[in-house]
Symmetry: C2
Subunit: 158 residues, 2 copies
DNA sequence: ACCAATAGTGAGACATTGTGTCAATACTGA
DNA sequence: TCAGTATTGACACAATGTCTCACTATTGGT
């Protein structure tokens, strides 16, 4: 087996609290609820999805979390590499929970099953690009799309 | 100079008409105006940008083109590789005019200057991913972000 | 424990972006 | 020229994202 596939180490809500603190962010109740809700997902989820999920469930005791708060918090979590911003096949933005570090994702176009991988083939390319264009290169986005084994049409084995 | 950078061959409106025909699309007046407007751009532009630009200028003679038509046409052009869908640093979708073929883009985060390149470092990676995950891999998206020479802060050469 | 400073919140108005409908229109090939 | 049909555009609507601002809650210092 090559080095491509990452077995993600679990990341906990308390770990994320620590990271928030270290970055100077306050530990607030909405942020904690957002983090916990995000951690329930092992596939990409959209901001609006979380908005819906966090809208007071049957339990009328929970207060609502404002849409703006959710968008803001997701951005913060992404900036700290707790989440990754990914692009879904259709072109829409979503987030996935991630262990920290540089990751890319292989996403099933059908069911959104996601496999993170760490090998990044960009590094050598970047050197060429810098030499050719004189750009300073700060970032890149790479997403790979396909069909997971479950979603592949059965081969017609006559 | 390495092979990374593409000097784009010009693509003309009439060439695009041919491509449309070959794909079974009709040559309509709105499509021609959309194509011509798109060709004026050498940087990424959004669908809404075109909507605005095509909204009858001072010249009251031109009729309006519906928003839906513009979105539809851009998708068609992208599906024929006349345009590429790209993701801007902020995460928003845009299109760039392209010579046909497999391209990626290096985009300036500040001024959106764009350099297309053809070298794609994905191929070997894809083999590993297939072996490791059993996914069928159909597509990928790669964008590189940075600062073009013009937008780089001057080095403080004391 | 208390307090002052201030980061953070949420409601909602609003802006932007994208989709769906459908009668009317304009291409195209025959 | 004409019938068949792909395409249009207006518009309503859905979805997504941004902004504001008075109010609240967290935090570090005392
Ligand atoms: Mn990478
Ligand atoms: Mn490629
Ligand atoms: Zn799948
Ligand atoms: Zn620039």
């Amino acid at each position: 087996m090559s080095q491509s596939v990452t077995t993600p180490e679990p990341i906990t809500a308390s770990h994320i609290r620590t990271i928030l603190s270290q970055h100077g962010y306050r530990i607030t109740s909405p942020r904690q609820r957002i983090v916990e809700q995000a951690l329930l997902h092992d596939r990409p989820f959209t901001a609006e999805q979380l908005v819906a999920e966090l809208r007071n469930h049957e339990d009328g005791s929970e207060s609502n979390i404002g849409r703006a708060t959710i968008y803001r918090t997701l951005e913060i979590l992404a900036s700290m590499d707790v989440l990754s911003r990914v692009i879904q096949p259709g072109g829409h933005a979503a987030y996935v929970v991630d262990a920290p570090g540089h990751r890319h994702h292989l996403v099933c176009s059908q069911c959104s099953a996601t496999v993170a991988f760490t090998s990044c083939p960009i590094d050598e390319l970047v050197q060429d690009l810098i030499a050719d264009t004189q750009f300073q290169i700060h970032d890149h986005m790479l997403e790979v799309f396909g069909l997971c084994p479950e979603c592949q049409p059965p081969t017609n084995g006559t």
